[in-house]
Structure formats: C-alpha cells, structure tokens
C-alpha cells in the first residue's frame, strides 16, 4: 500500500496540473477559496486521479473531494 505522504504528493501534483499553477507543499487548498478550481477543472482533476491511481471514483466522491486533505483520504480509501 502506498504511503499517505506519497499519495498526498501525487494528489497535489495533479491538482497543480489541473489548475495550471504550482501548489506548495503544505499549502492547504479548497475549492471554495480557489478561483481557478471551477467545475471543469474539478472533473479534470478527478479524471487525472483515476488515471494516476488506477481507481474509479463515484459521483459522491466527486462532490466530497473539495480540498486536498479529503482528496488524499478518498484516494487512500479506494486504494485500500
């Protein structure tokens, strides 16, 4: 099983790619406060997480994964 820190780094990197801007390590980010994180970027981010981790997310996951921490947690849960 992948380490949480490794998963968190990949999640952060994919979100940075989706938003088109760097995200510093330790930077807390949530959809409500980040203007670049719109619905289009959100789906793009979700699809990239699926590709990267080989997982399938459900619409409920999409709705819940609105900050870096929750994204990391949901991915870890999927990875078992």
């Amino acid at each position: 099983m992948r380490e949480k820190v490794e998963v968190a780094a990949i999640v952060r990197q994919k979100l940075a790619t989706a938003l088109g801007r760097p995200i510093n390590e330790g930077e807390e980010l949530n959809q409500a406060d980040e203007p670049l994180w719109d619905s289009v970027k959100h789906l793009e981010f979700m699809l990239m997480l699926e590709e990267s981790f080989g997982i399938t997310l459900e619409p409920d996951d999409f709705a819940a994964m609105t900050d870096l921490q929750s994204c990391t947690d949901r991915v870890l849960a999927q990875l078992g």
Binding site: K14, T17, A18, S39, V40, L43, E44, L47, M48, E50, E51, S52, E58, P59, F62
Partner: protein, 588 residues
C-alpha cells in the same frame, strides 16, 4: 501595362487568415522537443495528466475556433492543446452557450466554426430527421461565414447518423464531418461514461475525450488550417525495421508486428495519393538486395515514387527527392530514427516536417496515423491518379529531352477538358488553390466557400481543367478563377498542378480556361491578370512575363493582355492536341 485592380465581385471576400499556411521553419531545438513529446502524444492510451503537463516552448500560430455545442467541450479542448501545439497552433476557443437549437447567436470572424453535439439529446428525432435539420442549420451557418465548418459525427456505434450526415452535407462547401468511428478503432475501452454526463454534462469517457482531442488537434483542425503533406520520406534502418542493414545484413533485420503495421499504414497513405520515398545512407545494391531477400517487408520497391540511397547528406537527399517528385521540401514529412540528424536537417530545409522514429514502432505508427497535414477529408479520383502520373512524367521528360517540339506534343495525344463552374469540382478546385505552389499566380488560397461563390455567381467562373495523354490520366490539374466586368475579363487566380507542367501546354490550360468561361462564343475586350510574387511561384510568374513580354515590377499587381494575341497563342497550339472538350454547368 500594369493597372490597378477594379473592385472585386461583390460576393467575394478577400482571403486572409491562417488557412493554407505551412508551419514555420523549425529550429533544431523544436525538432528535438517534439521528438521528446511523441511517446506521450502518441501512446496507445495517452493520459490526461501527462498531456496537460506538456508546455510548448516554440512559437505557435494563433487561431480562433468558435464552438457551437450542447455539451462540455472544455474537457476535450484542454487536452487538445498539446496536440495543436505539436501541429504549430495555439487555439483561442470561443464557446457559445449550451444550445440544442443551433441558433448560431454568436458572430464575428473566426478561423474555424466547430459544431459539437451530443446527439443523444435529440431522442424524439430519427436519424434522418435529425440530419435533415442539421443540414439546414449548417447551410444557414455556411451562409454567414466563409470559414471552414466542422461538425462531429455520432460516437454511438449503433447510430446510422454518420452515414446520413456525410451524404447530406456533401453539397455544402467547406463543411466537414469529424468521424468519431475512428475513435472506436483506437481503444477497446468504453467511450461513454454516464457518470461524467451526470457530473459535468460530458457524455464521453476520459479516454474517449483524450482520443477525440488527439484527432481534433492533429487531424481535423490542421486539416482545414494548414497545407497538406504530399510525400512521406522514410529512413530504413531502425525505422522500417529493427537493425542496421550494413551491419546485420538483410536476414538479420527484425520485423515485428508493429513494423508491419507501420508499413501497412504507409501503404494506406499511398492509396490516398501520398507519395512514399526512401532517403537512406546505405549502399544502393544492399538496399535492393534487402528487398529481394526479405519478401516479408510489406513496403516494396514498387511502392516507392522516389529514393535517395547514398552516402550524401540526407538534406541533399531530401532535396533530390523533392525534385524527383516535383514538390517543395515543405510538402514532405521525413521519418528517421536519428533525432540529431532530423534537428540538423531542420536548420537546412525550410518547412520540411519531421517525425522521429523512436524505439517503439507502435508510437511511430500512431504518430503517422495522426500526423498533422496527412488527414484528407475525402478520397477523390485525382488521388488515385497522382502516383501513376508521376511515373508517366519521367517518361515525358525523357521524350522531351530529345528536343521539345510540337511533334513531341502531338505524340502525347493530349486531351484537355475545360469544366466550367461544375459544382462537383468544388472540392478539387479548392484543393488546387490550397496546395499548388509553383504555378500559383496570385497565391489567394481560396476557402471552399470562396470557390462556391465563383461557381454560383453569374459574373464569375471557376474553370477546372482536366488533362490526359497517352501515358496517363492526370485528372483535374488546373483551376482558373475569372470574373467578367463589362466587356473585360479579370483572372483572379490561376493554379496549375506541377504534374501538368513541362508538356508545353500552359498557354492552352490557362487561356483555354478563360475562353471556355465565355460559353456563348464571345471573347473579352481585354484580359486583366492578377499576380503576387511569392517565394516559390516563379514558374507561374515566368509564364506571365512571357505573355506580357515585360518584367513584372510590382510585388502584387495586375497586367493587361491583348486577347487577340492570346487567341493566336491558342490557335498555335491547338492543332497539336488530340481533343479539347468543354463542359458547362447548366443549372446555374
């Protein structure tokens, strides 16, 4: 003798924008960077993340595409960006609102109009009804813009909409269907995703979106924005097979399934009129021995229209091949496993396109299948004729080298057909305007909609010229666009394929086309011919200078010709032609 051009015909829009351009000359760095991108861009299943991480560092041509849609195309356009950058473009996407009714509320000049629909949103209509409605909406859009129009096909396998749509839009000039059936051939993964539909209004799966983006960025948009490739030139070692002929010998070369598929892909291009050639640093006798000892090579010597096999530089070899094929080096794609060599050649040859054949022949095959500039919207008869016609050209040159004479011309038994404003010729006439470089008098690069206006306007003529002789049928090889203003005739554009040159028939092809435009037997009081000086249209300008008997002093201008003298030139050459035919569209 130079005079100013009177007002253009009222329905004709002066061309401009970005159509018909050849991507700018590439630096060595650009060639190497593009080579590094290939495994990402042309993976069997490219990932969204890896595509979005690609950032071009070379200059791109900015173009605008307006999207008329009823779904979230943003998920496609985002990953189309690196493919478009590979093709040399940066697109400004102008999205309309979600509109099932295709009201086309947005207006303003753009380079391409893109209609992208989720056809499952029209459940009450049969495919036939839907296509009838779509065709009327596309005709409406056609009447509002001269830009190319693209519309997507239906991605659903069971749909018969694609066939019906292709048939229905055929008469609409400059309207093309993006065939999504190709996507199904590229992946076994599901193409639809109800989850994406529910969350974001995107009916496609992630992989389908990415593969659509690849075709949009590499095939469909470059297919209306850039000049086409006329020849694929191939290296041999480590490109068509694994191994080095000079070291491994013919029997030591390794042909994988992927290499064989790559070679089949090349033959499919040849079937569509793209020349194949070899440029290799090898001993010629070794190469021909390899072909004879390796019957498992799908690509055979008879498939090659030209070759340069020597120890000279490949830049020189490519120039020689271009000469043999009678095309410019900027109409060629060179495929070679040596990225450094490609980079070096890029600094010597302007406009040549390059594909690095990396270690995985599957990547090369997929890249070739999608390479910008190789997409053709439709097959036509001229494509089939092109390859055979080149071989006949060599025989003509042999005959002519014995002394060009009227006897030589007579021996060709040439038949020339003038086809005046025939709607069915519109696509080929536009292709000639877009592709012809050497004998292109005014470099106007007409859009399909411009050609349609020349065909339909009472004052204008779009004359296609077909040519056949005892050696080959060249098909439709020239386009002459004219306008009649009062008693005078204005020649706005003349495009003659290089395949028709060298037979001493240029006067007949051009002046005969002008005369054919006067179907009632009348003749113009004066003939005004427009020209523009370009980098490679010397043969056309030389022809015009011969007719005027004076130098062309301006970069762009109009010269007047005495029609009596033109008539004499026609009378001089006509006895040596076997047959001259004129066909006029009757229902305009």
């Amino acid at each position: 003798m130079t005079s100013s051009l009177p007002d253009a015909a009222p329905n004709l829009v002066q061309p401009g924008g970005s159509s018909g351009v050849t991507p700018a000359t590439q630096s060595a760095d650009v060639v190497l960077m593009k080579a590094e991108w290939l495994p990402v861009l042309f993976a069997k299943a490219p990932t969204r993340a890896s595509l979005l991480e690609l950032r071009p560092s070379w200059p791109l041509q900015k173009v605008s595409v307006r999207v008329h849609r009823n779904l979230s195309c943003e998920f496609i356009s985002s990953v189309a960006a690196p493919y478009l950058a590979f093709a040399g473009f940066e697109v400004n996407w102008i999205y309309g609102g979600y509109d099932d009714s295709l009201a086309f509320a947005e207006s303003g000049n753009v380079d391409v109009e893109l209609v992208w629909l989720d056809y499952s949103r029209f459940p009450k209509l049969t495919s036939g009804e839907l296509v009838t409605w779509l065709t009327s909406r596309l005709a409406d859009l056609r009447s509002r813009t001269r830009s190319p129009i693209l519309i997507n096909g239906d991605i659903r396998e069971e749909s018969d909409l694609n066939r019906l749509l292709l048939e229905a839009i055929d008469p609409l000039p400059g309207v093309h269907v993006c065939n999504l059936a190709n996507i199904r051939e590229e992946t076994g993964e599901p193409l639809l995703d109800v989850r994406n539909q529910k969350v974001a209004g995107l009916p496609y799966s992630n992989i389908a979106s990415v593969l659509i983006a690849r075709q949009l960025g590499c095939r469909w948009l470059p297919g209306v924005l850039s000049a086409g490739i006329k020849a694929i030139v191939l290296d041999l070692d480590q490109t068509l097979y694994a191994g080095v002929l000079g070291e491994d010998g013919p029997l030591g070369l390794r042909l994988s399934d992927a290499h064989l598929q790559l070679q089949r892909t090349l033959l499919r291009y040849r079937d569509r009129g793209i020349f194949l050639a070899i440029c290799s640093r090898n001993e010629p006798e070794d190469v021909w021995a390899m072909f004879s000892q390796r019957p498992d090579m799908v690509l055979r010597p008879e498939h090659l229209s030209a070759h340069s096999i020597s120890w000279d530089s490949k830049a020189l070899g490519l120039q020689n091949i271009a000469g043999d094929l009678r095309i410019g080096v900027d109409s060629m794609l060179f495929v070679d496993d040596n990225a450094g060599e490609l980079a070096s050649i890029a600094t010597q040859l302007e406009g040549t396109r390059f594909l690095h054949a990396g270690p995985d022949p599957n990547v090369t095959r997929i890249a070739l299948r999608n390479f910008p500039g190789l997409h053709k919207w439709r097959d036509d008869k001229t494509d089939e004729l092109r390859i055979a016609d080149l071989a006949a050209t060599a025989k003509r040159l042999d005959a002519a080298s014995e002394g060009f004479s009227r006897d030589y011309l007579k021996s060709l038994h040439a038949t020339v057909g003038f086809r005046v404003s025939l709607k069915n010729d519109a696509h080929r006439l536009q292709e000639l305007s877009g592709k012809t470089n050497q004998f292109n008098l005014n470099l106007r690069r007409f859009q399909a909609s411009d050609v349609a206006r020349y065909i339909s306007s009472n004052e204008c003529r779009a004359v296609g010229v077909e040519l056949a002789d005892r050696l080959s049928d060249s098909g439709l090889i020239a386009a002459v666009f004219t306008r009649v203003v009062g008693d005078d005739c204005y020649v706005d554009e003349v495009c003659v394929s290089c395949r028709a040159l060298g037979r001493g028939l240029e006067d007949l092809l051009v002046l005969g086309a002008v005369r054919a435009g006067f179907a009632d037997g009348s003749t113009p009081a004066a003939l005004y011919v427009s020209y523009a000086v370009g980098p490679r249209n010397g043969p056309a300008l030389q022809w015009l200078r011969r007719l005027t008997g004076e130098p062309l002093n301006e970069e762009n201008g109009v010269v007047s010709l005495d029609w009596t003298r033109c008539s004499r030139l026609l009378e001089d050459i006509e006895p040596f032609v076997n047959e001259i035919k004129v066909q006029v569209e009757r229902d305009t």
